[in-house]
């Protein structure tokens, strides 16, 4: 299993609170100064940041791989859509409910997933990712899901009382959700939960003997991972006002994976960077070709794999070591 270095702290930033506060301030500023397409993109970045954080939690702290996290995104999106479109639930309530649905699914999957070797978990989640669109199209749930055509979501009511238009409302909602989710994660990781997770990651057997219920923690982590990605899926559906089976294709799961890998598999802030990358990069790459973003994703994945588990930081360190060594041997001229 690709374990992050032992005894490495769970959080990379020395003072996450300052960085976090800065991000929140920037986030609020965006709402007032950005509009139209840019605002929508920022909403998308927040959505993906939450989703990718979910995946990061799974791989960085549980050490598990999921090639099918798009499934949770889909659950979040579809449950939200059904609640709003068919049951007239207001969007700000529908999303958390969808998140809970995703959480439940995550817990159900999480327990048996514990017994699976990485290879088998990868195979199972890969198959899930490919099967999701078909599952969404099937005729047994067509009445609710709209089958192949998907579901239109009625446009949300803007929070006019606060002077926001529709796009700003959705953005603010996404921002609030992101702040809650990220703050929750940072808070948990700094406290007892974080220490327990670190113990599990580094010495699972020892942790167990010291009273840490490893299985419960790992199952709960899987659930939380699903919860976050599900919430993200719900907000994403609200933002696009539409869900359809082909939105949640296998390649969505790949996008989440790429975002997680690029930001750093166990980095909380990395989820934000990864999200920015997968939302913004295609804008430029698609000018070359529809396929170009994917070629870039694939290249990133392979190159990243070459440098696992130490990642980019490890590459820099080994280059430094080689330079230092050659300087030293140069000093000892024969």
């Amino acid at each position: 299993m690709a374990m992050p270095e032992r005894n490495a702290p769970l959080l990379s930033a020395k003072s996450p609170m300052i960085g976090f506060a800065c991000c929140v301030i920037v986030g609020i500023a965006v709402m007032f100064f950005a509009s139209g397409y840019l605002l929508l993109q920022c909403t998308q970045i927040l959505v993906f940041a939450i989703a990718i954080l979910g995946l990061n939690i799974l791989s960085g702290y549980n050490g598990q791989v999921s090639l099918g996290h798009g499934a949770f995104f889909a659950i979040g999106g579809y449950v939200t859509a059904v609640l709003i479109a068919k049951l007239s639930v207001p969007f700000w309530a529908a999303v958390p409910v969808a998140g809970v649905a995703s959480l439940v699914l995550g817990l159900l999957i999480g327990l048996p997933a514990l017994r699976l070797e990485m290879l088998y978990l990868a195979l199972a989640t890969f198959s899930l990712a490919v099967a999701v669109p078909q599952l969404l199209k099937n005729k047994f749930v067509e009445g609710w899901t709209g089958g192949v055509n998907g579901l239109q979501i009625p446009k949300v009511q803007p929070w006019a009382a606060v002077g926001l238009d529709r796009d700003q409302t959705i953005y603010l909602y996404a921002l609030i959700a992101a702040v809650i989710v990220f703050a929750m994660t940072i808070g948990l990781l700094r406290g007892r939960v974080g220490r327990a997770l670190m113990a599990i990651r580094d010495h699972a057997l020892a942790a167990e003997t010291m009273g840490v219920d490893v299985r419960r923690f790992k199952t709960a982590t899987f659930g939380v991972s699903a919860l976050f990605t599900g919430i993200a899926g719900g907000i994403g559906a609200v933002a696009t006002s539409f869900v359809s089976p082909d939105t949640y294709s296998f390649f969505l799961s790949i996008t989440l994976l790429v975002g997680a890998v690029i930001g750093g598999l166990r980095s909380v802030s990395g989820a934000l960077f990864g999200a920015a990358f997968v939302v913004l990069m295609p804008n430029y790459a698609e000018r070359i070709s529809q396929a170009a973003p994917w070629a870039i994703y694939g290249l990133f994945l392979i190159v990243f794999a070459f440098f696992m588990p130490s990642g980019l930081a490890g590459v820099i360190r080994s280059v430094q070591a080689r330079v230092t060594a050659s300087m030293r041997s140069g000093a000892r001229t024969p």
């Binding site: 099937n138 994917w294 070629a295 994703y297 694939g298 994945l301 392979i302 794999a305 070459f306």
Partner: protein, 288 residues
Amino acid sequence: MEGFLYQLFAGLAMGGIYACMGLALVIIYQATHVVNFAQGEMAMLSTYLAWTLLGTGMPYWVAMILTLLASFAVGALVELLVIRRIPKESPLAVVIAMVGLLVIINSMVGWVFTYDTKDFHTPFSGKSPVPMLSSHEFGALLVTLVVMGLVFLFFRFTRIGLGMRAAAANPVSAKLVGISVGGMLSLGWGLAASVGAVAGVMTAPFVYLDPNMMMSIIIYAFAGALLGGITNPWGAVIGGFMVGIFENLVGAYVVGSELKLSVALALIVAIVTMKPEGLFGRRVVHRV
């Protein structure tokens, strides 16, 4: 009853394709301990190559032979340039690299050939000798059986086949008898790529050629390989046929054809949680 037989035989024909892909997957897994998530895309790439060659007016079998040779070369190169550089101590790195390979191949093909579907004609026309099978179904079944038979003979009766089996089973001892283990691994990837190419070329007339053609095929191949036992090449073959028949019958009589992939998913989940070594996963007798 007649309808049932048709479904059964159709499942057998598709099963041959799943068996071929499953064989390719297991060859690679046994040699390099890597699950090649990109096997389907490599097969798809080979099929596009064949399509291009056929477009020049070349006779079918000439195009096929060239495709097989080119696929072999590509497979060996991928092993040499990509697989060798992945730190095998990290299973996560392996998974990520294979997914990356999948994405690169898929996108490059989409870039060059566009995502429009293309026609791919079968070389098997006329009346099929078996009434339950269409001419292409019969031809595909025959071809996949022949190819798998040749691979069996290769591994069993040739010196290089023995060397490959030895290099996969015990690389250290293989080196000690003078085998170039790296060379054997490249050969294994090349062979698997060629076998996959056969599966791809036989698939295209069924489903139209597009970059995502092999996406669901690979899932069925995984299911078959897991069912038979991912450590046993011939288990994977039998598993592939079983999945082909099962999937077709369930799709025809139980869940409808739109949910066939979900059946494969359910099968995969069931196997990995309950019996990961599959039906025929071999356990080797060791005496220290």
